[in-house]
């Protein structure tokens, strides 16, 4: 077999097998490395950190099972940050699919805090510290409606409680009482929050998005429309780094652990692209140097 064939005709199953090995091995033997925090994530961390005491944070859970590994660590890290700083949280979804994932994140992180809480003040209590508003279709209704009155849009919360009876909802009436909204999404919702809620009501918006959609969100960060941005697994790992270093919360860091898999997967892809291109250049040189027929085609 010629070298050119080896370089250009690697069986796809070989690529799959190598990629499978480099992705799974670091998951079986996890190790979280220190991550350098980049400005977009730093800005988002600071924006949440600087939410005034009398204002709330809205977290829009808009990720689905497909993008769960990338975005769920963001949700966990932000919830840990907000609960530690005693920032009031309103959680919601613009779609029905993420409801279970949102509930799971809220319950898991609040239980983390409650398991070490000594007094009621230390505990994270539903209705006092956070409220899960649930889902209200179509998306335009909550995005615009919450600017006027949140309890009018969500008359009951996700669990069926009357929202106007919850202590937190007596303090947070509309966007005027909201310090920041973070949209954790695998699609367009972060843009909708800017287009409708920010333009009309001046709501500050941050976002956590998938790596594949990152490029289209950067213009909004540059203009300052996004108060901060988390991109993909790396963004989640950077936020975990901030939470651990600045708030001294030492828990399992899923995104940081996954960085090894991501590193090796990227390296494998780069190596295969280089191999493919080496084969391509060798074959191109051969084609150029080979004698041609009067029509210009290689013999």
């Amino acid at each position: 077999m010629k070298i050119i064939d080896i370089l250009t005709k690697i069986d796809r199953r070989v690529i799959y097998l190598i990629l499978f090995a480099v992705v799974t091995l670091p998951i079986i033997f996890p190790s979280a490395k220190s991550i350098r925090v980049m400005p977009p994530v730093e800005k988002l961390y600071d924006a949440i950190d600087n939410i005034p005491e009398d204002k709330a944070l809205i977290i829009d859970f808009d990720y689905d099972p497909q993008t769960l590994p990338e975005i769920e660590p963001m949700a966990f890290a932000i919830l840990r940050h907000a609960f530690r700083k005693r920032i009031k949280i309103l959680a919601l979804s613009l779609y029905v699919q993420p409801l279970g994932l949102a509930q799971n994140a809220l319950i898991s992180v609040s239980e983390e805090f409650n398991s070490v809480a000594v007094t009621s003040e230390d505990s994270i209590i539903y209705g006092r510290d956070y409220v899960f508003l649930g889902w209200q279709p179509p998306p335009l209704i909550p995005i615009l409606g919450m600017g006027e009155s949140i309890v009018n849009v969500y008359k009951t919360d996700y669990y069926g409680n009357q929202t106007d009876t919850l202590p937190l909802m007596k303090e947070v009436k509309n966007y005027a009482d909201v310090g920041l909204l973070v949209s954790l999404s695998s699609g367009d919702p972060p843009k909708w929050w800017i287009e409708y809620a920010q333009n009309r009501f001046g709501l500050k918006v941050g976002a956590g998005i998938t790596a594949v959609s990152a490029s289209e969100f950067y213009p909004y960060l540059q203009t300052g429309q996004f108060s901060g941005l988390m991109v993909g697994m790396k963004g989640a790992a950077e936020y975990e780094e901030q939470v651990e270093n600045k708030l001294n919360i030492k828990v399992r860091r899923k995104a940081s652990e996954s960085m090894s898999s991501l590193t090796y997967a990227h390296l494998v892809i780069i190596i295969f692209i280089l191999i493919g291109n080496t084969g391509y250049f060798i074959s191109r040189r051969k084609t150029k140097s080979s004698p041609t027929t009067p029509t210009g085609r290689p013999r």
Binding site: Y16, R36, Q66
Partner: protein
């Protein structure tokens, strides 16, 4: 009449959708709030029923005609009916009138969601990485100057976003960030302006009744 009423409705509600962004008068804002919180919710409910009806009809027709992969349409219909019954009568977490537990075996909506939908969805998306790796190896070639620039940028960004990038050189993550912040934003902004102007023109054409293809029945 059949044509004019939809055109009139689109014109009226199209204008009503724009005005509240410009006029802060309480009457305008109140009307807007009423339309959104009442009318839009009813429309959304109708759209949901129409969508589900249309989905079931398409798959029923496919089964009847024995179209390509018609067997999978049965899977869709059966799972749709079963999950609908469980969801409607069993409650989301098994608190409804329909029992959703046999011994230790639970089949309420949340159990189905976390044990079937979540792993299936994650698995489908995970498969993409294998196809992307294979496709990148076969198709990502430095055939021209532009393709070479794209290739080099991709390598820098791919390495720059990793902890390894920082270990190679502390400038690499910053350079990757610069690629995302400057050349990428320049390109994206151009696209955004183009898309926004296109959307504006199309919206105006629809509101003013110039563009009528959404009515169906040809271009007239």
């Amino acid at each position: 009449m059949k044509r004019y009423i939809p055109l009139l409705l689109v014109f009226v509600f199209g204008i009503l959708g724009i005005i509240p962004f410009i006029v802060p008068h309480p009457v305008v804002q109140g009307t807007d709030e009423f339309l959104r919180n009442n009318l839009l919710k009813i429309l959304a409910a109708f759209a949901l029923i129409l969508g589900l009806g249309s989905l079931l009809r398409v798959h029923y027709d496919k089964i009847r005609r024995k179209g390509q992969n018609w067997e999978y349409s049965w899977v869709l219909i059966v799972t749709f009916v079963v999950t609908s019954i469980i969801g409607l009568f069993g409650g989301v977490s098994g608190t409804g009138i329909l029992p959703t537990r046999i011994g230790s075996f639970a089949f309420d909506i949340w159990t189905i969601y976390f044990n079937i939908e979540v792993p299936l969805g994650a698995a489908m998306f995970a498969l993409l990485s294998f196809f992307m790796a294979s496709a990148a190896y076969r198709a990502f070639r430095a055939r021209s100057t532009e393709a070479s620039l794209l290739l080099v940028s991709a390598f820098i960004v791919m390495l720059g976003v990793l902890p390894l990038g920082n270990e190679i050189s502390p400038h690499l993550p910053s350079f990757a960030q610069w690629i995302m912040d400057v050349p990428n934003v320049a390109g994206q902004r151009g696209i955004l302006f183009g898309v926004a102007l296109g959307m504006l023109a199309t919206a105006l054409k629809i509101i003013l009744g110039i563009e009528r293809s959404w009515l169906g029945g040809g271009g007239e």
